[in-house]
Amino acid sequence: MIGIGNPLRGDDGVGPAVVEALKRRGLPEGVEAVDGGQAGLGLVGLMEGADRVVLVDAAEMGAEPGAFRAFGPEEALMAGEALGCGVHGARVGVALRMAEALGCLPPDVKVVGVQPRQMGWGVGLSREVSQALPRVVRAVLEVLGSSCGSCIREE
């Protein structure tokens, strides 16, 4: 599980926040939680060798702040395409597309996107995203579970 985003930019910090929450809760066996921060294309290397990857990132989905959903890499890939190739700031879309093009995309990749309220400079999640955090964590565990069988410990 890799959390992406910058905790200095409000709700963009949701990825790293989920990593922290998962670590506090205890990780299912065989699962590693990685704070990917602003890894950019480093994400390609972070995913390498994993059987399954769940990425958590802030995602503008036109939904209510704190809303979240899991989707396959194809939607994120489309986002990468729309972006062009500013690879310094490459996020999930560009990195996934690159991994795919290089033939090193892990066989099972899911993205859990969380709708941010704000991503301006400032430390701390909005109330909405903060309140959604436990549900996001559960959703991430479910996605991991549907991928890795019965390795989930329920709360």
């Binding site: 989905m61 310094h88 400079w121």
Partner: protein, 430 residues
């Protein structure tokens, strides 16, 4: 050149992070407008650091950038340690230098291979590059992964290292992990050679503009982590005088601050460092420079790409040397205790893109009262414009598209990373 009309407008230049625009307007052979515009959101790091405790400041600083997080972490730690007179051990110094080498390698490899090379190999971006030069991109990713793994082993995270703290390390790497890195760095020498071969075959635009080069300098080593400020025009200056170096000023067409010292502008980054400190490079890096036709001092800003490869060679070989020293001695758990106190400290390091300043003032409670950060990219903006002004008259006879492309390449050669100071590229999922 009278009668020539050229209009170039590049909005949101690709393959640089953040929002930068190029505007060129030539009427009748006369340059009416020539600007490098950076659309920068207000910089709030200083505000975010204010009120923060001495032992959390560097964790915030390390999130400023995903490419230069080690640099920001170390500049921040050094500012805090200077403010509170916190000593560090030789072992800590070596480990920090090692993680610094990792950052330099990953940043330079990313820029040379994925941002600059597509121009030079005649493809539009990294994706067609994967089609035409798959092995080249795989090599780049292999080198970048190794460099990020250095950060993971030494700093506890692949990016945004977490175990570097004021006075030392919260956790030390395991011996086997260090040995593993050493082995992979050894294997990386072949990739390095292939990189030199690739770059020496590239044709860079032929353009020179001699300017003032500013970097850190150390008497006996190639300076990344510490040193005095050094100008190719005026020699050394103490770090306490950094504001007299940067002289930040505002220009009407850009929201990013510009900098100047002894001339209208100065250049920072790999080219400035190699120019100022060539003699301190490892012999393997000098050999790489010679193989690529790089001769210091070099006044061609496009050669910044080549200087980055020279530094990559230095870092690979020096990282092996540092690892050997650490492995030979064995890592010791070191006890250290910090007594927070009031004071001011300045931390200066060489980030991959150039000299980086963090300046903190702490109150009695060990919390930041005032902070100032000056990033390398902002120090280069005026130099980019001066290059534009020197270059454009020489290429005005060329087709408009070629003029535009050459200007884009010039900006990319500087490897600007505006993300330090501007709106982050917000990804929209559909």
């Amino acid at each position: 050149m009278s009668g020539v009309n050229v209009r170039v407008e590049v909005e949101h230049l690709t393959r640089v992070e953040g929002h930068g625009n190029i505007v060129l307007d030539v009427k009748n052979g006369e340059i009416k407008k020539l600007e490098w515009t950076v659309v920068e959101a207000p910089r709030l790091f200083e505000a975010m650091l204010r009120g923060r405790r001495w032992d959390e400041v560097h964790h915030i600083a390390c999130r400023i950038c995903g490419i230069c997080s080690v640099s920001h972490t170390c500049a921040s730690l050094r500012a805090t340690e200077a403010a509170m007179d916190i000593p560090i051990s030789d072992q800590t110094l070596k480990l920090r230098k090692l993680i610094f080498h990792g950052e330099m390698i990953q940043s330079h490899v990313l820029h040379v291979y994925l941002l600059a090379a597509p121009d030079l190999l005649g493809v539009g971006s990294v994706f067609p590059l994967i089609q035409t030069h798959r092995e080249v991109v795989l090599r780049a990713m292999r080198m970048k992964k190794l460099a990020n793994d250095i950060s993971h082993v030494i700093g506890g995270r692949h990016v945004h290292p977490i175990s570097l703290i004021p006075g030392g390390f919260a956790a030390l790497p395991k011996r086997e992990a260090l040995e593993g890195l050493r082995e992979r760095l050894e294997a990386c020498k072949a990739d390095l050679e292939a990189t030199v071969d690739l770059v020496k075959a590239l044709k860079l635009p032929d353009f020179e503009r001699e300017t003032e080069y500013v970097s850190l300098r150390m008497p006996e080593e190639y300076a990344f982590y510490e040193g005095l400020i050094y100008s190719s025009d005026a020699g050394p200056a103490p770090v306490e005088h950094y504001r007299e170096v940067t002289n930040e000023f505002v220009v009407p067409h850009s929201t990013a601050k510009h900098a100047r010292w002894h001339r209208n502008s100065y250049m920072v980054g790999a080219l400035a460092r190699v120019n100022n400190n060539y003699g301190m490079l490892r012999p393997e890096a000098k050999a790489a420079a010679e193989a690529m036709g790089f001769k210091a001092p070099c006044f061609n800003p496009f050669m910044n790409n080549v200087a980055q490869v020279v530094e990559t060679a230095h870092c690979v070989y020096d990282a092996i040397a540092v690892l050997d020293e650490l492995l030979q001695k064995g890592l010791q758990q070191e006890a250290f205790k910090v007594e927070p106190k009031a004071g001011r400290g300045i931390g200066v390091v060489e980030a991959p893109r150039g000299i980086l300043f963090h300046d903190y003032e702490y109150g009695d409670d060990g919390r930041i009262v005032r902070a100032n950060c000056i990033i390398p990219t902002n120090q280069n903006h005026e130099s980019i414009e001066d290059d534009f002004r020197a270059l454009v008259p020489k290429i005005l006879d060329r087709p408009q598209d070629e003029v535009r492309h050459t200007l884009e390449m010039l900006v990319r050669a500087y490897d600007p990373c505006i993300s330090c100071s501007t709106h982050y590229l917000d990804v929209t999922f559909i």
